[in-house]
Amino acid sequence: MSLYKKCHRWFHQFASPKYFYDISHIISKYAIVVCIICFIAGLYGGLILAPADYQQGDSFRIMYVHVPAAWMALFVYVVMAVAGGIGLIWHIKLAEIVARNSAPIGASFTFLALVSGAIWGKPMWGAYWVWDARLTSFLILFFLYLGYIALQSAFEDRRVAARAGAILALVGIVNIPIIHYSVEWWSTLHQGSIISQIDKPTVHMSMLIPLIFMVLAFKTFYVTSLLIRVRTEILEYESNTSWVKQLLRDYKNVTN
């Protein structure tokens, strides 16, 4: 069998609700363990081991929430738009479910990035909020998420809602490079990226390693939260199939 055929078959198997439901339990179990370990390592390194910044003092420790939240806000948006696009083109139900259930998590990360940034801005810039390019484009990202969520509940038919949401998400993806390059294109209060060059990051290792752990923790957190939501929606959607009915009977036997 050619590699293409293998991939094709794997893709379809993976997109089948029952297969995904089963495998999601295994993935989320590992993801939550990695998530907890990374959080402990990241928090210990970030709050205790890392020395205070020579300019920002201890206030730079807000970074360990702010940066992972902001990165994940962008990452989840891209996942949402790509999954929405796959659902739009190939009518894969699972992709629509992934897109829809990513939205509240992404909105949470965006909220977290905005709030932590505002609180960090007060001691560093003297203001919670300034209307500069990075902050404004990030606020637009938050509104895109809210618009997407509102759109999902505006339609009776979930498939119509998924299609409308996918178009909104794909149009809104133009905001992602704007957010990324906003600190280079326009003069801004927001500092530039500290680890744009992997080989020579402008941040010391003792500060960088906890950040990497926090990013991993946020990423695995997203996977865990998403899989629980996706599983639930698969059960609802597939509730008339024999495998779900059998599953419900089995769960009953376990709980009784």
């Binding site: 003092g57 206030s59 001691p123």
Partner: protein, 56 residues
């Protein structure tokens, strides 16, 4: 480093701890609410299945 030193965060305590607190709440809700919903959906579907099967 003493515990009070750690908690005072070099004078930035009133900025740092609220951020970590909000982070904890947001992350907790993003796990707890989906888990509650999953359980609720399973219970409802089980109930529906039971009433369907008792009819036939």
């Amino acid at each position: 480093m003493s515990l009070t030193d750690f908690l005072s965060m070099g004078g930035y305590a009133k900025y740092i701890w609220p951020v970590y607190g909000i982070c904890a709440v947001v992350l907790f809700l993003n796990i707890a609410l989906p888990i509650f919903r999953e359980r609720k959906v399973i219970r409802e579907l089980q109930k529906r299945l039971q009433s369907e099967e008792s009819k036939t």
